[in-house]
């Protein structure tokens, strides 16, 4: 296994074991700013881990970032790893990041669907859902981004267990979702949530389950516009942006709708690049450019969250 985070190859894809080993190295090497929190276990009993970046204080306002909820979207885990390393490397140098970490904590869940991710390495590279199974149900897996309480069971999710967008038997039925719900609810002071998917180059905000604009729609629209501008400056990649239901499609039971209804005003969903050719099979050579541009957009959202306390 990799010996340290500096010898780790950030421009390659990695297995679950390699990522979990890298997490341990990161926490060891940067123990003054990073810790590892075990927030639960997946359906197949794998650990669900969250990285906490903090410079002190208690119950500080916080920012949540998750990657890999759909396991075949390998570019998202790889982007999350690169961003985690960027945070520890840039703290004390990048003024926006440093100011953010002086006042807020950042939590990153790199592998939100560990069972599905392990399965993409062992059996089916194109697997999307988790691996839960229930007596009497012929097909395996629930789409974890349809299992949240907000708008659960509405249009844009499916009640057929064999569908790729199967919502599950009831809201938060899946341990991978329940673990996040419990953690964020108990913490109670999250101010922004960013859920990273791929692909199709979009930056979106609630709602997905309804065409109704959210209360601070104008603020989110302007912030998304500023974020995609910062992203485009890096490599010229164009993103479209807007609410999920008006930009992409109606989708129910999704992470960012739940977060918004929990009072997290700055809730965003990224659909990272595919450059129009590779879909989920983005070549590893595009990991670092993708992460660099995504970081600039996330940094923009962080700065806004820091400067607009609520």
């Amino acid at each position: 296994l990799e010996r340290s985070t500096s010898s780790f190859s950030y421009s390659s894809y990695h297995t679950l074991d390699e990522i979990y080993s890298w997490i341990d190295n990161l926490v060891t090497e940067y123990s003054d700013i990073v810790s590892k929190i075990h927030i639960g276990n997946s359906f197949e009993n794998r650990s669900i881990l969250v990285l906490k970046f903090s410079t002190g204080g208690s119950q500080r306002p916080a920012i949540w970032i998750d990657t890999g909820i759909h396991s075949r979207e390998w570019i998202t885990h790889a982007t999350g790893i690169w961003i985690a390393k960027k945070i520890v490397s840039e703290y004390g140098k990048d003024c926006i990041l440093t100011d953010t970490l002086k006042a807020m904590d950042i939590f990153i869940e790199l592998v939100t669907n560990p069972d599905g991710f392990a399965f993409t390495h062992s059996m089916n590279r194109l697997w999307r859902k988790n691996k839960s199974s229930r007596p009497g149900i012929f097909c395996i897996g629930v789409d974890l981004n349809r299992n949240w309480k907000s708008g659960f069971g509405g249009n844009g999710s499916n009640n057929n267990p064999c569908s790729e967008t199967y919502r599950g038997p009831f809201p938060q039925s899946e341990p991978e979702v329940a673990a996040i719900v419990d953690f964020i609810t108990v913490h109670g002071n999250f101010k922004a949530l960013i859920s990273i998917h791929s692909y199709s180059q979009m930056l979106m905000y609630p709602y997905g389950h309804s065409l109704e604009p959210v209360l601070n729609q104008k603020e989110l629209y302007d912030l998304a516009q500023e974020a995609v501008k910062a992203l485009r400056k890096v490599n010229g990649i164009e993103y479209i942006f807007g609410s999920i239901s008006t930009t992409l499609y109606v989708a129910s039971g999704i992470t960012v709708d739940w977060a918004y209804d929990m009072g997290i005003k700055y809730a965003f969903s990224f659909e990272l690049r595919d450059t129009g050719r590779y879909g989920f099979l983005l070549p590893a050579s595009q990991i670092v450019p993708t992460a660099q541009e995504t970081w600039m957009a996330i940094r923009t959202i962080m700065k806004h969250t820091l400067n607009h306390p609520y």
């Binding site: 990695h14 062992s122 590279r125 194109l126 692909y199 199709s200 992409l248 499609y249 099979l281």
Partner: protein
């Protein structure tokens, strides 16, 4: 590891809502065969779907018969998967 030799990803630009619903129907016609990588959402957005090699002829005939223009975004998925796997092995070495 499942093998995806010969599977293709077709990119379809539906002109209107009617064409989008024809694509949605396809999912019902070919349950668990057609895998939408980008689902039918709105006319301005492309629809990408992975089609197993065994279903290619039927699906392309369906698209042609309904006048749905498409192009082949990925000609053989397994080729990209093999490259990805080789890149990971190389990085590990």
């Amino acid at each position: 590891q499942m093998n995806f030799t010969g599977d293709q990803v077709l990119r379809i630009l539906a002109k209107d809502e009617k064409e989008l619903s024809l694509l949605r129907d396809l999912e019902g016609l070919k349950p668990q065969k057609v895998d939408f990588w980008r689902g039918p959402a709105r006319p301005s957005l492309p629809v990408d779907m992975r089609v197993p090699f065994s279903e290619l002829r039927d699906v392309k005939a369906y698209l042609d018969s309904h006048g749905l223009a498409y192009n082949i975004m990925i000609k053989d998925i397994q080729v990209l998967l093999d490259e990805e796997r080789e890149a990971m092995a190389k990085s590990r070495r």
